[in-house]
Amino acid sequence: MSTAELNDKESRAAARARKKADKIRDKHANDLPRSMQPNALVKTVTILVLVFALIYFLFPIYWAIIASTKTPSQMTSGNGLWFAVGLPDLPAAIAKNYSTLLGWTRGQFWRWVLNSLIYSGVSALIGTLVAVMAGYATAKFNFKGKNLAIGVIMGCMLMPAALLTIPQYSIFHAVHLTNTMLAIIIPCCVSPFGFFLGRVYAQTSVPNELLEAARIDGASEARIFFTIVLRILAPAMVTIFLFLFVATWNNFLLPLMMVSSDTLKPVTLGLYGMVSLATFTDRGALMMGALLGVLPVIVLFLGLQRYWQAGLAAGAVKG
């Protein structure tokens, strides 16, 4: 049995133990000792603050949902707090705006959502892997120019990425990559922040002893990385993945410059196209597009919530 395999077993056992501890802790937390039980006033204030914040964060979204069923003229009439039509007419109103949306996007709406998923998914995947590799390299190895590399990359965190779009476009043009999926994926998978997180995580959660033990066992560096390090860094990688995913999902300037074929556009570009036409008035349909476009992101966040939080914690504590 190699160290890696041994370690594999160990880490699985460790994970089980952690889970158990988590459960106990959760139980514990919900069952606070009496001295920590808050008095009624504190409790009321807390609830008030939390509910107020809830209203603050949700009200605009509620408004957007209502607005997504309205025609341009209904939008400016009434108080905006409720549907402009009666509930029985609602499906028709929704269908109307949905067809306006499809009309605006020339029937490509779902294709664009799919494109967005591909762009965000692939660039987040590649971006996470390369960022973790680089972070691991700078955290665990000494190599020539390391400090310079770290300095340059961190410096670029301060560079307004959007301003680099034009020169990026020229460079991608020169290598004939514009108007391809790669023109969006490549720029989106490089994130100095992703590198920074990868480095912090590798520094704090990969024990040197483990690496040494694996090396003594004769495991290659690549094997160590892909079988041991990646496993340890998994929760951290989810964090980087989601960060890159959302950043790519929300980007419109890059695709605006890089692609012109209808079949290659991401959904934000379609939405931006609606807004940027000065003569645009179908804001209800725009809201519907935005809400439908956000759905995949929400599903992703719900699905990965556990990892996402664990990863954030790992980075946040020692960050």
Binding site: L164, P167, I298, A313, G319
Partner: protein, 323 residues
């Protein structure tokens, strides 16, 4: 392995003094770069080359040649030395934009971070059960694309449409979210709405990572909930807060979506309202001098200012740490 052994031997022969260390160092060097390479190559393509391009082009301006009222139908790059930089640093519009960004950094970022912290602490206090719904709702705005979020808020600010303004008016409060002295705050609210939940999640994660025996110990010492929050929880999320702060400042420097969308409703928001807007509009020629040269100069000067801000921030952070 043979190749490596061979090189190792030569190394041994050459540097007899510290043979082992050198061999290991060489290997480490190679491995390090091997892991670094994929990111490095992409990074060079996406950041380094464009930055070099930007620096190069900042020494040029795009002007007509060939005379005639319309020029010869061709723009050429004319080397102008530091003229573009001179234009930027003497431009009142640029510094006004920097001023807005600095105010934003000094006011909006702390409010957002403190808000996120308070929410995270309250959720972590276990005073309220079923926190998942709260946590998720706070986070939801982050998933809405920035342009769309701005559009939603522009509606909610609009006197003739917004239920918000109408309700306030009904109870006798008249607000104009687009008034000259309010518009920056209106903008800051959009940013706060979008990113508070995200920062809260970071803090929440940090809070939940605090070992619970610390609380036990505090409880035995007779500390109440508030004291625990201030003495144990707060110090433990400091690192997270500093990171969130740095990221928010970086985001603020690139402030673009909010003013750009709000300008639709308030045309007095100029094309150079923030340095980022100024750079893009310069590159598109809606500001003069236009073109890539002056635009690059705006970007570079702004990046330098950001660098200075970051250094100041780090120094302050160190000082705070030392205390």
């Amino acid at each position: 392995m043979t190749a490596t052994t061979q090189t190792a031997k030569t190394v041994v022969a050459k540097r007899a003094a510290k043979p082992k260390a050198s061999d290991a160092a060489k290997r480490e060097n190679r491995t390090g770069w091997a892991f670094m390479a994929p990111f490095g190559i992409l990074f060079a393509l996406v950041f380094i080359l464009p930055i070099i391009w930007a620096i190069y082009s900042s020494f040029f301006r795009q002007v007509t040649v060939g005379g005639g009222a319309y020029g010869g139908g061709e723009l050429v790059n004319k080397f102008v030395g530091l003229q573009n930089f001179q234009y930027v640093v003497t431009s009142g519009n640029f510094w006004a934009g920097v001023g807005r960004v600095v105010i934003y950094t000094l006011v909006q970022v702390p409010i957002m971070i403190i808000g996120a912290l308070v929410l995270a602490m309250l959720i972590d206090s276990y005073i309220v059960k079923h926190i998942t719904a709260f946590r998720l709702s706070y986070f939801l705005p982050y998933a809405i694309p920035g342009v769309v979020a701005s559009i939603i808020w522009v509606y909610l600010y609009n006197g003739q449409i917004s239920p918000l303004v109408k309700m306030l008016a009904a109870i006798g409060i008249k607000v104009d979210f687009f008034a000259d002295n309010v518009v920056l705050a209106s903008m800051a609210n959009i940013t706060t709405w979008t990113f508070t939940g995200y920062n809260m999640l970071i803090f929440l994660a940090a809070l939940q990572a605090i070992p619970h025996d610390l609380y036990e110990a505090a409880r035995i010492d007779g500390a109440n909930g508030f004291q625990i929050a201030m003495r144990i929880k707060l110090p433990n999320v400091r690192a997270a807060a500093l990171l969130a702060m740095l990221l928010s400042i970086v985001g603020t420097i690139q402030l673009f979506n909010e003013p750009q969308v709000m300008a639709i409703s308030d045309p007095s928001i100029s094309k150079s309202y923030t340095p980022m807007m100024m750079a893009l509009n310069t590159s598109q020629g809606t500001l003069t001098p236009g073109g890539d040269g002056p635009a690059s100069a705006v970007a570079i000067v702004m990046a330098l200012i950001a660098g200075v801000l970051a250094v100041v921030y780090t120094l302050v952070e160190r000082k705070v740490n030392a205390e």
